[in-house]
Amino acid sequence: MIGQAITLIGAVLVLLGAVGVLRFPDPLARMHALTKASTVGVGLVAIGSAFVLPTANDITSAIGAALLQFLTLPISASLLARVTYHARGIPSRVDAVDELADRSPPRP
């Protein structure tokens, strides 16, 4: 029962990330919503399935998928955010200091 409850919390977090991706105004904010909510959501779904699944082989597969998502999703989001910043010129209205402003754009 506790496994199903944790899985449901993770699923609701994935849904909140989807609402954020659909509703936020610019690509960097959408990327923020996807990365934060989806890493925690998939992690909670995998932890909840580890309470329910019978064999150790299945549990390690589910936890391995969530661990791989933890490792790779921030890296790919960072790559995509950097490229999006340099390509489209996002207006810096969130932070007072723009740390990427004086960096040279990446080579074509």
Partner: protein
């Protein structure tokens, strides 16, 4: 309770797909497709919980790897093209 998780994850996949279809720039489409892959991974894990058989769980691992490689390749492509 498992059925509610199926419905919630399916709704999330539909919302992500809406952003992937309607995204103004290429980055938005990549974000939407990444979200659809995340929802698919979660649905695979929830299905393994529901049926008690984990035969499809390696597909979730493969989906995580494919998502990372695909996003990195599209990032390099946007960097070269400049959109």
């Amino acid at each position: 309770m498992i059925e509610i998780a199926y419905v919630v994850l399916g709704l999330a996949a539909v919302l992500f797909a809406g952003r992937a279809i309607a995204g103004p720039s290429l980055s938005d489409r990549v974000i939407g497709i990444d979200g659809v892959i995340v929802s698919g991974m979660s649905i695979i894990i929830v299905n393994a919980m529901d049926t008690g058989r984990g035969a499809f769980l390696p597909a979730a691992v493969v989906l995580a790897l494919v998502s990372f490689v695909g996003t990195s390749v599209v990032a390099r492509f946007i960097e070269g093209r400049g959109e």
